[in-house]
């Protein structure tokens, strides 16, 4: 069964500081990996995805993530955080095939607070 762990429930950074949100997954093969962001009262917006190929993927809003197979990780990074980045971030793993094809399993989310 696939699973996702986001070890940090809440992270606080200062505006302009760098950011790294951790994500570890469990899956029998190479999964599809995603980061979504949720602002209060809103749905989930896709930040970036990894399907295959280059392990460093670029997303929207200046975010990037790196797939590390040996560590089963897909950490999200941003070099300089803006106040508007304050939100909750979800890592998700998807099955590329089989009976669970299309099923997304989400981590428990990381709340990001940005101090001015």
């Amino acid at each position: 069964a696939q699973s996702v762990t986001q070890p940090d429930i809440h992270i606080t950074v200062s505006e302009g500081a760098s950011l790294e949100l951790r994500c570890n997954y469990s899956y029998g093969a190479t999964p599809y990996l995603f980061w979504y962001v949720q602002s209060p009262g809103q749905g989930l917006q896709l930040l970036l995805k990894y399907f295959s190929g280059d392990t460093l993927v670029q997303g929207i809003k200046g975010f990037e993530a790196e797939f590390k197979r040996s560590q089963s990780s897909f950490n999200l990074r941003k070099p300089s955080v803006h106040w508007s980045d304050a939100a909750e971030y979800f890592c998700a793993v998807g099955a590329p095939g089989g009976t669970s094809y299309g099923k997304l399993t989400f981590g428990q989310g990381t709340i990001l607070t940005v101090h001015p």
């Binding site: 995603f34 949720q38 749905g43 917006q45 979800f90 099923k103 989400f106």
Partner: protein, 111 residues
Amino acid sequence: DTAVSQTPKYLVTQMGNDKSIKCEQNLGHDTMYWYKQDSKKFLKIMFSYNNKELIINETVPNRFSPKSPDKAHLNLHINSLELGDSAVYFCASSRTGQPQHFGDGTRLSIL
């Protein structure tokens, strides 16, 4: 234009009632999903339909019944609502093998 739209946005009702949530997508996607987000913000898939065919049916009480009249619509009907059904329900859609696009959610509160 809204890509994935859900109605209603808020739903407040009493225990034991039956209610429906509607979802429509105008992205031309062939797969649609229902997720439940509980009070701790944990998101879990409930159902998935591909071209009107049920393909994912997680362990969900049979009081929950999805219905897909066509590829652009996936509705969720809930019978005999219970307190534990209070949550935010998200609809999503995708092309096969592509990332999912989410609606803004329906916040269901059971009194």
